[in-house]
Symmetry: C2
Subunit: 320 residues, 2 copies
Amino acid sequence: MTPYLEAHSAQVREAAERIRPHVRRTPSLTTDLDPELRLKPECFQVTGSFKVRGAFNAILTLAAQQPMPAGFIAVSSGNHAQAVALAAATVGLPALVLIPEGSNPAKVAATRALGAEVIQEGITFVTREQRLREEMAARGLTMVHPFDDWNVIHGQGTAALELLEDSPDLQVIAAPLGGGGLLSGTAISAKSHDPAVRVIGVEPAVADDAYRSWKAGTIQTLAATPQTLADGVRTTAIGTRTFEVMFAQGLVDEVVLVTEEEIAAAVRVAWSRLHLALEPTGALPLAAYLSGKLPAGRTGLILSGGNANLETVATLLRTP
Amino acid sequence: MTPYLEAHSAQVREAAERIRPHVRRTPSLTTDLDPELRLKPECFQVTGSFKVRGAFNAILTLAAQQPMPAGFIAVSSGNHAQAVALAAATVGLPALVLIPEGSNPAKVAATRALGAEVIQEGITFVTREQRLREEMAARGLTMVHPFDDWNVIHGQGTAALELLEDSPDLQVIAAPLGGGGLLSGTAISAKSHDPAVRVIGVEPAVADDAYRSWKAGTIQTLAATPQTLADGVRTTAIGTRTFEVMFAQGLVDEVVLVTEEEIAAAVRVAWSRLHLALEPTGALPLAAYLSGKLPAGRTGLILSGGNANLETVATLLRTP
């Protein structure tokens, strides 16, 4: 194992200890689809997605420092917002979340219910970075980045750590790929467990910036926010840290693209045959599996969350 | 412990050993709803419902006898059909399943896909008993009753056995109540674990025959097949064996009725907040919990299955 991988995998194990009292150890599931398949359903995680793993690791670490932060700020259209809200409330510090207008109202309501202040007015995917800097400066808040933050990456790696504890002989692990936090953490856990495990990121074809970054060897950026069913991976570019882990260090073997139709079909299979109420983003690895785009072998799918827009899902269930 | 309870609980433990290679040990889940709650999601069981537990216990027992049965026959509108089809195929014997016309087409297709012969033409809830006797006589098939059969009852009891292994300190256990097979097995496992555990059956108010049987002390029969969202509990009367376990022996403490609105609300909560794609029957105990109809205390809910009619669920998800 390289010193790089050794250091990062030690930090994932430290993260697992740090967040243990606050997150849920989700089960590994077998299915009627294929005896080679293992699912890690993070829809059963606290707040309904894996995002609490990284948010708790970051916020517990920051809150233990002197001087203690005044509070936290995050930009998120969804699950990271709820995760930061809960972790901040747990350590007794305020959280401000900037959520772009037009985001899933259920996720906004859940974030407010967890005690965070939410600003939506005037927030767009274009204006949010500027607004973030203004609010940070005005209030002295500490940012919790949704993916390009080492504490977040190490926290997200605990999902694959658990999956590999339950199924040490996995040959393939696939996870959704947006900003790359979950996939980077997954790759650190998988490659430190066994360098032969194939680590695959699954990205919507209409949001292929990570795929193109992998091919180009430099970070590629989408010109506009992609319109995909998988609303958890609408970031326009991966981060410098996640690029480093995934592609510069080569811990990710492959990026696979799935179409919107393949994502929709995977949601239907998840809901009707696996009985998992996944959000479309959470179904990305299943979409790649069902489309025959993953390598053969004993395969673990990290199904990242379940906070679906019910109107969208009701429509999908009616489509044959 | 009474000799009666001791004998039956020993048979549940034997059933657990017998069926272990063929069924799935479903996980116990905690939730964001209530720290006192434990879920046993049998939607993740092989074929999507608990019914394989009883069907495998019955069919493995019968297939080991001499002379070996010629094959098996069952009457079912749903999950029992798939369970018998799979268990019969596993022991290499034929299965004939009579499914009433108008039943959920997905369940019919799944039963055929598992290798069973299915007869639907001319089968109604009124004619099916007569047709069953004719086919049994003509083909020499052995019946696997969906609930009023000791092997089936003991097999169903293995779900609560696992739940209590995971959470030995439960104070309340609730299960759906139709013919009473699952609830009888649950009661045997719970009361032999700890007589103080409160065992609750949950029945739709529009199908209240078991509730009335509990109150009257004799088996009461509905005049017609009830129209309830919970299509897994449309039986018109419980059986003599399940009446004995639940009410004559007093192993069930209470029967709770839930309205159709409460069932619909529970399905929505299951799908949107618990991320479990339950069928309405599987959500019955959750409906009782959410309506405040269960006793206080650490509570286990046996969520019996997930084979929902997608059209029905799509409609429910759209209803606020």
